[in-house]
Structures are given as structure tokens and as C-alpha cells.
Amino acid sequence: MSDSPAIEVRGLKVRLGGKPILKGVNLEVRQGDLYGLLGRNGAGKTTAMRCLLGYLPYQGGSCKVLGVDSPRIHQVAKPYGVALDPPGMDDTLTLRQNLEVAWIRGGIRGGRTVSEALDLVGLSHRQNNRGDRLSHGQGRRAAVARALLGSPELLVLDEPLSGLDPEGVERMLALFAELTQSAGVTIVLSSHHLREVEHVCNRVGLIEDGITLLEGEVPELLASAGDGLRIRSANADGVAKILQGLPSVLPEITTVGAETSVRVAPGFDAAAALTKLVEEGLGVEEFAREGASLVDVFHQALEKDKQSSEEAA
């Protein structure tokens, strides 16, 4: 496997209808990554994907896919699969025919067949349904099946989990993990399902308002976000006051009823904190330390961005 990134986006800028949509997106997806592209609705995830696949011209920066500049993406040597939103099924063809035409266009000679791809996403029983007879979730799965045809070395999937039932989400995530681990396929997926993404992706990037706010390895990002501390006590205000004076406790403390929540930096001494609260006689009923999630990372990054924007203003 080559050391060069599968996808390299630097300072990507896009204007649509005179309005800046992407103002500086930087992404680096390494070969073999299962990369989660995160961001709120309208943040620019799909636009970034369209640019890197050569569907949308861009005005600044650079986009490289498998070593080739996006506008000339048809020159890449290795096959890749794409499933964007909307799924792009031809309504006048059956699901099987939709995949067959993709097979022909790809000049595919080996690897995953139409039947195997449909089986992998659990749509074999729908293969004779026309494109417009598929539900929203089935359409997404169909698009993923089409992207899986042959032996793609890179998959770019826009919201592949959207509209899927919990079982479908689980099945799809297991499939992505399997493809990355066993076949070494590089996968980039955008999603709002942060908890699910956290369990399968090794790297994530967060886009907000057309800018990459953060990017990195999932374990490192979780560690940097610190743990969460949840304390239940009849004297919640007293607890908050004590916590404020402790080292490694991050500034924002939330109190809802009897429950106090706070984030703590690595190195926080939980035993010492609990001893202090007990010594002060605050009647601690529950003291729980919880690891950070991608949701916390997401919110922290957005909060940080908001603060720096306010400071700049």
C-alpha cells in the first residue's frame, strides 16, 4: 500500500451563485482509512465531496484523489465507488439493471458481481423493483451496492446511513469496517450518526460553515476532549463551586436540578475530587466519570469556533 494519501484537499474554496460555500477545507484521507466527514446540515460536506469527485468546479485550493487532480479524476488508475445524495437510481430501470449499466460502464471484469453487491447490502429481494419503488433507505443501500461493484479501492459515501433503520445502520457499519480491515478499502463517509461513526471510523474531519474545524485520529480527539464528570447531589451549587477550584476541570460547568456536569482534562484526579466533596459535606449521591464521545468533540469544536468568531468580531 502506498504512503501517499488517498484524498488530499488543501484550502478548497468554492463559490456557488456568487456565495462562498467552502472557504478553506483541508482534508487528508490516508490509504486504508475509514474516514468520517462530519458537520451540520449545510456545513459543506456534500459540496466538498462533489468537488473532490470532479462534479463541481472549484475556485481555490487543490483536490487530489488517488494522486490525480479532481478535474482529471477520470485518469485515476484504480477503480473507486461513489454513492452521493441523492442516490441517482434511474427510475425507468430495475435495481438490477441500474447496477448492470454501472458494471458495463465500469468495464468491470472481476471482483464483486451485481448479485453479490446486492446481497451485501440486503437488497437481493428488491432487485426487480424499479428505482422509484425503493424507499429512501433502500435507495441509499442501492447506491452503496452500486459503489461496491468490482473491486473499488476507494469508496466515497455521502450520508450512507441516512434513512436506514437501526438494523440497517448496524449492517452497513459492519460492512464498512469489514471492507477496510479485510480488503484494505479506503472509505470516506459523511454522516450525522456521530455515535455510530465513532465506533468504526479511525479518523474524522469536522467541517463547519465551509471550513475544516478539526481533523485527526478518533482516539486522539476523544482523549483531547477530556472525560466527563457527572455528580448528583442535593447541593448542586455547592458542588459546582468546589469543582471550579479544582485543577484540570474545564471552565464550563452545567447544573440541571441535582445533577452537575463538567468536562475534565487528562490527568484529573477523580479520587481527590470525590474526597474533597465528601469532606465538604455536600451529600454526594452519585459520582460518575465518563469517557468523551464524538458528540462532545463536535460540540467543543463548535463552541471553540463560536468563541473565536466572537473574539474576532
Partner: protein
């Protein structure tokens, strides 16, 4: 396998398997057949009412009915070609269907070129259906041979070369139809919404008819003026008139118009091809 060849094979697959294309062919065949059947019913009614002038006598013949039926089918062919081709790509862009072929290591130019190549097949196969429907129905319902009245030869089809004229006028329909197909693809790569492409295409089709008085002999230089059904200077229309015995119906020298009409769709074909390819190069999909 090069991208153009793969893309071409994909487009041919779509042409073969799209249900809308299949039903379009059936529709053209039925329209041409039913038009001739309708003509027979109308003639029977006129005959039963005791009418039937010289025009009706001429109409009781395979050749004028075959020409008229084919032209009726061609109205649908022209409309269908415009709607299907000019509206197709914008619909595929909206649904995202066009993204997959471009993700199969097919360049935009190769994809657009393959679409242009296959686009010219569509009106031709539809044209064949119009001819087949009309020929089948005319052969069943009318006799060929000279047009007779009371045992006298009123109009000698073979001596007048009507059969050859009809065949020639049908051959003459091919190039304008190809130009229409290519023009429709150009519209599809230019406009974001299919309805805009179809609207502009329809305007271009109707312009020579609407401006015929103003344009005069310059009209045939527009490919749409010599379209076999909707064209104001349609050779098929002229041939049908002659087959029905109206040899002096044409306003000016037919041969002069024919010489222009043979080549006038070629520039339209070439310009449409070039612009179709150019417009798709930077199209957002």
C-alpha cells in the same frame, strides 16, 4: 477498455432497457397505424354518404396513405426526440444518476460524446417504427397500383415516380432528424432545467413555420424547416401532396429547396455536437 467505448456500451444498454424508450416506439407504431385506419374509416363514411370527388378517389391508394401515416408517426417522433433527449440529462443531473458514469473513469467528453452518438440512434429507430406502422396498416387497408377512376387510369403511380419520390423523401428525413437529436442533446447540456431545454428546442422547431413568410427561401437553411413532420418545407409533405395528385401544391421550385435541404442540417448537426460537448465540460453535476 477506453472510457468512450465503455460509456457507449452503457448508453446503448439504457436505450435497450429503458421502458420509456420501448413504449415510445410502441406509441409511434400505433399512431402511424391508427392514422391510416382513421383515414380508411373517414373514406368509408364519405363513400357511404355518396360523396367522393377526385381527391377522395386518389386517397383510396396505398401510396398517399403510406406517406401520410408515416408523417403522422413522425410528428410523435420529433416531439418525443426533443422531450426525451433535451429533458433527459437535466433530469439525470437532478436525480444524481449522471454521477455514477463519471465515477467509472469516464471523462466528461467521452460521456457527452457517447450520449451524442446514441442520441442519433433514437429518432432513427422511432422513424423505422413509424414507417413499419404506416406500411403495415396501409398494406392491410389499401391497394397499391395506379389510381383508377371508373376503369380509367387517373394517376399512374409508377410512371409519375411517386413510389420513388416517397422513398427519397423518407431518406431525406434522416439528416434533419439527426440534427434535431443532436440539437436536443445540446439543449440538455446547456440548460439546468429540462423544461427550458425543451422550450427552446420547440421554439427552434417552430420558428421556420412561424416566420416562413419573412424568411422565404432562406427558411430551409434552418434544419427544422425541413423536418419531415413539423418542417414547413418538409419533403415528405410535398411527396404526399404529389402522391395524392396535387403536383402543383408547392409554392416554389421543389428541386431548389431539395438541394438546400440536403445539406442544411449538416451545419446544425456539427454545431450542436460541438456545443453539446463544450457545455458539458464544466457542467455542475
Amino acid at each position: 477498455m477506453i472510457g468512450l467505448w465503455r460509456s457507449l456500451r452503457g448508453e446503448l444498454y439504457l436505450l435497450r432497457h429503458r421502458r420509456s424508450v420501448f413504449w415510445m416506439h410502441v406509441g409511434v407504431f400505433l399512431l402511424a397505424s391508427l392514422y391510416v385506419a382513421g383515414a380508411r374509416i373517414k373514406l368509408e363514411m364519405v363513400k357511404a354518404a355518396g360523396g367522393g370527388g377526385i381527391g377522395e378517389v386518389a386517397a383510396w391508394n396505398f401510396w398517399p396513405q403510406f406517406g401520410d401515416g408515416t408523417r403522422a408517426g413522425l410528428f410523435l417522433v420529433e416531439i418525443a426526440t426533443l422531450i426525451f433527449l433535451a429533458g433527459g440529462l437535466p433530469r439525470e443531473i437532478t436525480s444524481g444518476a449522471v454521477r455514477d458514469p463519471l465515477a467509472r473513469r469516464i471523462s466528461r467528453s467521452a460521456f457527452a460524446l457517447s450520449r451524442c452518438v446514441v442520441a442519433v440512434i433514437l429518432p432513427l429507430t422511432l422513424f423505422v417504427c413509424a414507417i413499419a406502422g404506416s406500411a403495415a396498416s396501409s398494406a392491410l387497408l389499401f391497394d397499391a397500383g395506379d389510381i383508377m377512376s371508373g376503369g380509367d387510369v387517373l394517376f399512374a403511380i409508377e410512371d409519375e415516380g411517386i413510389d420513388l419520390l416517397l422513398y427519397k423523401s423518407m431518406a431525406h428525413a434522416i439528416l434533419p432528424l439527426l440534427a434535431l437529436a443532436m440539437f436536443s442533446v445540446w439543449m440538455s447540456t446547456t440548460f439546468r432545467h429540462g423544461v427550458a431545454g425543451v422550450g427552446v428546442g420547440l421554439s427552434a422547431m417552430l420558428a421556420p413555420s412561424l416566420l416562413h413568410e419573412t424568411m422565404g427561401k432562406r427558411a430551409p437553411w434552418l434544419f427544422s424547416d425541413v423536418l419531415p413532420a413539423m418542417g414547413q418545407d418538409s419533403f415528405l409533405k410535398e411527396a404526399n401532396e404529389r402522391a395524392a395528385g396535387n403536383a402543383d401544391a408547392y409554392p416554389y421550385s421543389f428541386d431548389e429547396i431539395v438541394s438546400i435541404g440536403w445539406i442544411s442540417p449538416l451545419p446544425a448537426l456539427a454545431i450542436s455536437l460541438v456545443f453539446a460537448l463544450l457545455m458539458f465540460r464544466r457542467k455542475q453535476v
